[in-house]
Symmetry: C2
Subunit: 257 residues, 2 copies
């Protein structure tokens, strides 16, 4: 199924930008009168009939709209430190979008080697992954912030602490998880499977550290702000694999039997 | 932790091949007397003391051996059709090895576009992924066979049919799953999560089809041979993402709470 993407759908009129218009008219040779399918990136898929087939700006009339098209029954925000190799991060966002992702935040940790991040490129990958996996919603890619800024930014919200352990319903906000690799007797980590299993809400934030892991300070700050320390099982996973494993944990948690 | 790989460990003597020896002596500058860690690819990690530091062939004396080093509590054989783009398959085997994989079989389906496959390259990736994720065992990469040959090759074995549905213990052999995307009223698909949850054995084979999916004939042949048809949830996944999702399903199935 061939999908177009437009942020400009209003009053029953859908406009494609220059790239999408060129692809629609020059490559796929669509003409006025043809029906096309367009996602707005916010969750809705529109069936539209082309009214103007200009390769510079296609206009189409909305015929039918399907909200929450290809949606998933939870909200997942992955905050993942950039990998040394950009491809690995880009691979992660593509796969995460295919499975089910709502927001991605590149976070820079104290032990991060890479501190620059191309959000625009990630946005492009997310749009094509959403089209490819037939989803009306394109995950939001945020600008990079430090781990500390991210933790403080989502502070206050959170089912957090015992809430989730006791099967909290997340009324207090999202379930906030931090995955790190070191052991800390004072705050033993539980498996992400166990913590997600005991959570009855549907709003999840997961923090994944850089190759050098989170610093003790970052982990403590997270815990003080309601993040639950988790592990991802016994395997030693690369940053991007750990991140996708967490995405899969949420995907399976909410999968119908 | 820096690991070497050798298939030549016998009688308390470990020999590194030319590549590993060069890396050990020229790059890492190890000398006679140094201790190194070596995996045999079959699950054991050896602590060895170098006795000869020739860059052409390092010899070392085994000091200590740790069997089932970095192992996982199940056996997983993924039979996955080659992707159009090789990188995607190579990415899959790397990630699958990190999470937990025992065997990978490239299988050529009736709808497969790609029918050539470089097993040697996949083996290289598996060795470095096993080293990187600290596993003593390197998954076995088989030569390509057709889907039909693969199904008939594992026929006879299998917990299969209702066995797993009823929580079969796999006494009959491995649990054999086939993931395809079309619906067939006669044989409704169950979720991989449900089928794995009801399986008490630890030996699993999963068949993942090509971009064009399995043919009806292939699906029927698989079912006749004890494969259980499963789906991987509501998301539309690329071949390599579907394959890794199945690997993650097994990883979480056997993860301790």
């Amino acid at each position: 199924m061939e999908l177009f993407y437009s942020r400009d759908i209003d009053g029953g009129i859908c406009r494609l930008d220059k790239d999408e218009s060129g692809h629609c008219v020059k490559v796929l040779r669509h003409r006025a009168g043809d029906e096309i399918s367009v996602i707005d990136g916010c969750g809705t898929m529109y069936r539209c009939r082309i009214t103007s087939d200009s390769p510079k700006g296609v206009e189409a009339m909305v015929v039918e709209e399907t909200p929450d098209w290809g949606g998933h029954p939870y909200r997942l925000h992955m905050a993942v430190c950039p990998t040394k190799n950009n491809d690995r991060y880009e691979w992660f966002v593509e796969k995460a979008c295919e499975m089910g992702l709502d927001e991605v935040s590149p976070v820079i940790g104290e032990h991060s080697e890479r501190r620059v991040f191309k959000t625009a490129r990630v946005e492009k990958i997310l749009v094509s992954a959403a089209k490819q996996s037939l989803k009306g919603a394109v995950p939001v890619a945020h600008e990079p912030v430090s781990v500390k800024e991210f933790i403080e930014g989502v502070a206050g919200s959170g089912a957090g602490g015992d809430g989730a352990g006791a099967g909290g319903n997340g009324a207090g906000g999202p379930l906030k998880l931090i995955a790190y690799c070191f052991e800390d007797e004072r705050v033993p980590r539980r498996s992400i499977k166990e913590v997600l299993g005991g959570y009855e809400g549907r709003d999840i934030i997961v923090l994944i550290g850089p190759e050098g892991d989170f610093s003790r300070t970052e982990a403590e700050l997270a815990i003080q702000n309601g993040f639950i320390p988790v592990h991802l099982g016994d395997s030693r996973l690369r940053t991007e694999t750990a991140a996708l494993t967490a995405v899969a944990a949420a995907y399976f948690r909410y999968m119908e039997q």
